[in-house]
Symmetry: D2
Subunit: 413 residues, 4 copies
C-alpha cells in the first residue's frame, strides 16, 4: 500500500536511486555481507526519514535483508516525488509527497504506525512522539528505535529524563562516523548548495552569521570561509564560543551580529535564535535561512505577519518587506539544505545509514537486555564503519606493531 | 522584433531582473549618473551575451541611456527563457532561447547584425567573427566592439595579428575589475554551483583536477580547496605551474592526473586539454566538465562516439559507459557554470558590465582616434569602477597624505 | 634551596616573567580571586614542568596562594635558565638547568620529592613514576597529582589499569580548555616556530608528513596547510584516519609517506613511528623532528648509529649522513617546539595552568573522597575557565532565554 | 680587503653557506652552466645586499664566474657576522657587520664604490643614490645596475622620471619569479618567523592589521590567516582594497583599524602609514612592526620620544609606555623578518638571485644598447627561471601539442 504523488515518476526515481547507490559503497557492502542470512526476515520496520535518493538505498537494502517496510517523510517539504514513486513500485509501503500540509504529514506517520513496526527509525522524533503519546499507538509493542538527528535525540532524552521512554533508543546521531561526517561535512556542503540555489548571490566578501558552533555550525562555518565569506559566529556555550574564537571567527552576541550580517544560517536545534528584535535589526537585503531540523529557529511567524508584502521571487526565496527593508527568507525557514537543494551527498549518507542498519540489527539482537533509555551507538559499530569507509575510499592506514601495542600498556618509555 | 520561447514567462523574468538589479548597485549607479544626458541616443548596440538575469540589467540600462538594442545569446544552451521574455516585453529586440541548434544560434547572431549596430558587445567573439568574415556583414560600418572573455580576446588578437581587424576592440576581459573578479571569484563560485547541481557528490576528500591555472583556474582551485577537496593542477606555462606549486597544490602532467582525479574541471580556453588518452586513463566514476567558454576543451566527440551507452541520469549529467567504466559528463562539455547553474552572481557581473558600458561610451567618443587593434580597458575606467565598487559595498579605504604623495617622487627616504 | 645555572640571569628572567604574566590574564585573574584566603597555606606542592616563562607565572601564583613550592624541569633540554634564576631569587626551591644529562634530570626530580610534597603537578609522569616505584619515595604520603600531557595520562592509566595507582590523579590534559587549546592551537603554532628556527626552510610547496591526527596532529596539520605545505597524514586509528581524509589531507601508510615527505613531524606519543625502514626510505635532504612528549617517536638511535657523520650545522639541527643521503634531525628528536623554540605562547598556557591551579585546589578539598584512579577535570572547572577566557579576551556570547531553557526539556517543538 | 666583526666566525659561516647552497638548486645550476666560460672575467661587481647565508651563495657564485667582488650590507642591522667572516675568508672584499651606526653603514657603501665596480647590485638603492649624487662617486663609469626591492625600484624611477638616471637599471624586483615568490611567499613566511621570535604570542584569534595589500601584504595576510588570525587590511589603492575585500579580509581605514588591532605589520614602502594618531589610538599591549625595506613606515620617532619608558624586554622587542599604555615595537621599526629572524628561506632567494645573476649578464652584454631608464627583467629570463625552478623541485608540467599551438593562432574554434 502507498500514497504518493505520481507513480509515473518511478523510472526517473530509479535513475536517481542507482546514481546514489553507486556512491554509497559502504552501505552497499554492509548490506551485501548480511544479505545471505536475511537477518530481518519476519520483522517490520517503520521509517520516518527524508525521502531522498540516499534514503531509497537504505530502504531497498533493508528490504533485501528480509524486512517488511513502511515509510513516511520526516518533513512536509523534503520528499523527492520520483524516489517515492520508485519505492512504491518496488514493494515499499510508502506515504510521502512533497509540499504536504501538517495534517497530511501526521496522517502519513500514522499510516506507518498502522503496520505495527517492530523497530522504528526516526529523524526528528515525530514518529516516536506519536508512539508514546497518541492514544491510538502508545500501546504498540516496539523493540526499540534509532534516531538520526541531534534535535530528535534531545527530544527523546527529555522523555527519558522524565522516565517516560517506552523502549530503548539508539542515538545514531551520536556515532562519530555519523555526526562528524553527516553533521559537519554533509551539512557543510549541502548548506552551500541550498543557499546557492535559492539566492544565487556571492558568498565572497559577505558577512555570514552562523548561529551555533556545534558540529553543523562548525561544518557550515568552514565551508563559508572556504567560499570567501567573513564568518561571524554566535553561541550560548562558552566552550564552543571559545573554540570558534580560536578558530579565527568573530564571535559576538546576536544583538550585534544581526546588524552586521548579510547572510544568516541557523544551526542550533533551538527555538527563536533569530527573534523579533534580531529581524528588526537586520540590514536591508539580508538573507535568512535555517539548516536545523525544525522550522523553529527563526521567528518566521513574526516576520511573515509583520511584512507588508511577502513574495516568492525565486524558487524557495521569499522577499519580505518590513519597515521599508527587504528580508529574504529561504524555504520559509525550513531546513534549507533539503528544501532548496537535495540534502547531503550520497557518500555522507552511506556512513549515516550504515550506522542505522547496524543499529537496527543491534536492537533486534539485544533489545531484551537493553534499558528504556537513550544509548550511544556501540563503539565497535562506529569503528567498523570507519574501517569500511576507508576501504571503500581506497585509503590505507598503518597498524600498531607488537612493540607499539606493548608500549601502550607500559609506563616506562 | 524578437524571437523567443514564450512571452508569458515575462512576469517571472521581471522578478529575476529586479532581484539581480537589487544586487548590482555599481552598474545601477553608473547608469544613474549618465541617464540624464542620454549619451547613447541615436546609437544602435548589438549584444551577443549569455542572456541571464544579470545581462538583462545591462541591456535595460543601455536602453535607458538612449540606445536602440538588439541582442542574442552567446551559447546555444545558456539563455534563461524568462529573461528573454522580459526583455522582449520591454522593447529589446532579442533573438534567444534555451537549447538551440547551432543553426539557430547562428541565425540569431545574424538577426542582430541585421540591425546594423554601431558598436558590438561580444562574449567569445562569434558575432565579431561574422562581422569580419561573412559576406553579408563584413562591410557593415562598425565603430568598434567590446569583448567579455579571455577566449574571445584571444581570437580577436589572432585576427589583429594577421592585420585583419576591421575596427578597434576593447578587451573588457583584461580590466583588473573584470578578470580579477569575474574570472576568479565569479567562476570560482559558479563552478561549485554548477557541479553541485549536476552531480550532487561530495567535494570533501576527493581529488579534483583543475586544468589550467589562469584567473579562472585560480578561482576554481581556491574554492575547491575551500570545499575540502585535494586539488591537482595541470599547466603548460612554467610561471603559472610554479605559482600553483607554491600555492600548495599538486602540479603534474595530465597523463598522470587523469589516473588520479575523481572530478575534472577544464579552465583553459584551449582545445582537447582532456583528450582521448586522458579519458581512457580515468577511473570508473570520474566526473568531467568544462567551465571555459567553448565546448572544445574535452574531446567529447571521442567520448560520446566510443561509449556503449550514453544516458542523461540527472539534469545536465550524462553517464557514458566506455570500456566497462562510467565517465560522467556535465552539460555535454559546455560551460558548466552557465549550463548547469545560473552563471556568476549579480554582484560580480555588476563590475564586468560597468566595464562594458563605460567601454562602449569610450568607443563612441574616441573611435575615430583609435587604431584597428585590441585595446585594454583604460586604467581610469578600471580605477573608477573599483572606487564605485568599494562605495557600493560600504568599504572605506585610506588616501595618501600630501607628505606621502611627496615621498613617492623623492629618492631620499 | 635550589640548583640552577646562573643566578645573575634573574633580572632577564624577571622581564620574561612579566611579559608572560601580561599575556596570561585568565590565570592572573584566577589567582587574584583566590589570593585573599591563601587556600594553599601549609601545603607543599611539587612541580615537574618545563621551566619556561609561562610556568614561572604558575609557580609564582601558587606561592601567592600560600604554598611552599619545589620544582624541577620536565625535560633535560627545555629549561630557560633565566627563568630558573628568577624563580630561585623569588623563594621557589628550584632544581633545573638547560642541557642536563639523564642523571642530572633524575637527580632534580628526587630533590623535589625530598620536600615531601602534598600534591604533585607532573608533565609526562616521570615524577609520579618515581613516587610509585622508587624505594626512596614510594611511601610518601601524597594527596594526589595532576598531569599535563597525553603521554603522562597514558602512563598513569597503565598504572591504574594494573591497580597500582597510589593516589587520585586529575588528567588536566583531558580538559576541553586544555587539550583543545594547548594541544591543538598551542602546539600548532609552536611547532611552526620550532621548525622555522631550526631549519629556516620554506614550508610552502613542500610535502609535510604529520604522524598522528590526534589533537596535536590536527593543530600541526592545520598550521602547515596555513603555511602553504602539502600535508600528508599517517594514522593507526580508522576514525582519525577518516577524519584527516575528510579534512582534505592525503592519508597513507608511513611506508609510502616516508618516500614522499620533505619534512616530518611526529605527534603520536607512540614509540618508533618513524623507524629504521622509514628512515632508509627518505629522500636526500629530509627534515625529521618530533613534537610529542618523549624522544621515542623517531628511532634516533638507529639514525645516529648508522650515520657516517653527524654534525650540528645550525642550532638544534643535526645533519646525519647515511647511505649518501643527508637526513636533518631537529633537536635530536626531542620535543622540537620546546627545544628549538619557546613552547606555547602565554595566552595558551594561561588556560592550561588555570586548569592546573583549580585542579590542585580540587584535590586539596576532595582527595579524601576520591578513588585511586585517573579523573577527568570536573566539567564545572572546564566551563569556568572557558567563561573566564572569553571575558579575558573581551569576547561576548549569548545566554539562553527562559523560553529557550524550557524548550530543552520539552519534546514538543 | 675587508672590514668585518670577527674572522673566527668563518667556519660557522661556512656551515650556513653550505646549508643554504644545498637548498638553492636553481641558482647553483644556473652558475654551473655558466662556469666554464667565466663570463664575468675582468669585471668588478659591487653588491649592496643583506649579508645573509643566501647572499653568500650568490657572491661565491659570481666569483666562480670570474668577477672581482666588493660587497656591503643593505641595512645596519641585518648582517650575519659569521657569513661576513666566511666571505672575507674566501676572497670577497666585504665591509659589513651587524649593528652598525648610520655612519658605519655609509662608510661601507663608499668602500665598495672605491673598487670602481662595472655593475652594481642594490637592495633599496642606497648605493645607486650615492653613485648618482655624491661628488666622490658620481663620475664613476658604470655599465648598469640591478635592484632587488620595490622600494629601491620606486626611488630609481623617481630619479629616472627627473631624467637624471646615469645608466640603465634592471628592476629584478619586477620579475614574476622574483616578486611573486620573494615578496609573497618569502616575506609571508619570514614575517611570521620574525614576529614569532620577537614576541612569541599567539596569532590565532588575534586581530592582525596588515598595512598594504601589494605582493608583500598579500603574502603576509595569507600566512596570518593560516595561523588563525583575524586579518584586517588597510589600503590607499581602490583596486587592491577591493581585492582584499573579495579575498575575505576586513578592509577599513587605519583610523579605525588602529583601535582594533592586536598586531600590526606594515608592508607598504610608504612613509608614516602608522602615524602619531594611529599610535595614540592603539590598545594597551599592541605589537607594532614593519617588514618594508626602510624604517619609515611607523612613526617611531614620535613613539620613542613620547614614551615615558622604553625597555628592550626580549630580543628585538621594545616595550614603550605611552599614556599608561604599553606599545611593543619590533626591531625598532626596521625590517622585522631580517632583523628578528633570518630573512627569506634559501629556496625563495634562489629564484631572486638567479634573476640577479642573469640580469647582471644581460647588462654586461647589452648595456651599450640600453637607455638610461629602469627596465623590467626580460621575459625570457623570467621564463627560464620558472622552468629551472620546476625542474629543481621535480615538478613536471604539460606542453602544448602542435594541434593546440595551431589553435592559439586561429579564430575558428
Amino acid at each position: 500500500m502507498n500514497k504518493i504523488k505520481n507513480v509515473k515518476l518511478s523510472s526517473k526515481g530509479k535513475l536517481s536511486y542507482e546514481w546514489a547507490k553507486d556512491h554509497m559503497r559502504i552501505l552497499v557492502e554492509t548490506i551485501d555481507k548480511l544479505r545471505k542470512n536475511k537477518p530481518l526476515e519476519g520483522i517490520t520496520l517503520g521509517f520516518c526519514l527524508h525521502i531522498t535518493k540516499e534514503t531509497s538505498v537504505l530502504l531497498m537494502g533493508a528490504k533485501e535483508l528480509g524486512a517488511k517496510i513502511a515509510a513516511c517523510g520526516a518533513n512536509p517539504l523534503t520528499t523527492q516525488d520520483d524516489i517515492a514513486a520508485f519505492l512504491a513500485s518496488n514493494g515499499i509501503n510508502i506515504y510521502a509527497w512533497k509540499n504536504q500540509t501538517n495534517k497530511d504529514y501526521n496522517y502519513c506517520i500514522e499510516r506507518v504506525l498502522d503496520y505495527k513496526p517492530d523497530i522504528l527509525t526516526d529523524d526528528g522524533a515525530d514518529m516516536n512522539i506519536k508512539a508514546h503519546f497518541s492514544n491510538k499507538y502508545n500501546l504498540l509493542k516496539i523493540m526499540g528505535s534509532t534516531e538520526e538527528t541531534t534535535a530528535g535525540v534531545n527530544r527523546l532524552k527529555a522523555i527519558s529524563n522524565k522516565g517516560k521512554l517506552r523502549y530503548p533508543v539508539i542515538a545514531v546521531n551520536n556515532a562519530y562516523t555519523k555526526h562528524m561526517f553527516d553533521n559537519k561535512y554533509g551539512t557543510g556542503q549541502s548548506t552551500i548548495d541550498g543557499y546557492l540555489r535559492s539566492m544565487n548571490l556571492l558568498f565572497a566578501s559577505k558577512y555570514v552569521v552562523i548561529v551555533g558552533y556545534g558540529w553543523v555550525g562548525k561544518g557550515v562555518s568552514m565551508r563559508c570561509r572556504g567560499m570567501g565569506s567573513k564568518v561571524i559566529v554566535t553561541e550560548v556555550n562558552a566552550l564552543r564560543g571559545l573554540e570558534a574564537h580560536m578558530d579565527g571567527f568573530d564571535v559576538m552576541p546576536m544583538s550585534k551580529a544581526s546588524k552586521i550580517g548579510d547572510i544568516f544560517i541557523t544551526c542550533t536545534g533551538m527555538i527563536n535564535v533569530i527573534n523579533e528584535k534580531h529581524l528588526l535589526n537586520m540590514k536591508n537585503g539580508a538573507v535568512v535561512g535555517n539548516v536545523g531540523h525544525f522550522d523553529v529557529e527563526i521567528d518566521t511567524k513574526f516576520l511573515l505577519k509583520n511584512s507588508k508584502s511577502v513574495q516568492e521571487i525565486r524558487p524557495n526565496l521569499s522577499s519580505c518587506t518590513m519597515n521599508n527593508k527587504k528580508i529574504y527568507l529561504i524555504g520559509r525557514g525550513r531546513v534549507a539544505n533539503l528544501v532548496a537543494a537535495e540534502g547531503h551527498p550520497p557518500e555522507v549518507m552511506a556512513q549515516s545509514f550504515s550506522n542505522q542498519i547496524l543499529s537496527i540489527l543491534y536492537i533486534l539482537k539485544h533489545h531484551k537486555n537493553m534499558k528504556k533509555i537513550v544509548y550511544n551507538v556501540p563503539a565497535e559499530i562506529d569503528n567498523q564503519i570507519a574501517t569500511s569507509a576507508l576501504r571503500a575510499m581506497d585509503v590505507k592506514i598503518d597498524a600498531l606493531t607488537p612493540e607499539q601495542k606493548n608500549y601502550i600498556n607500559n609506563w616506562n618509555p
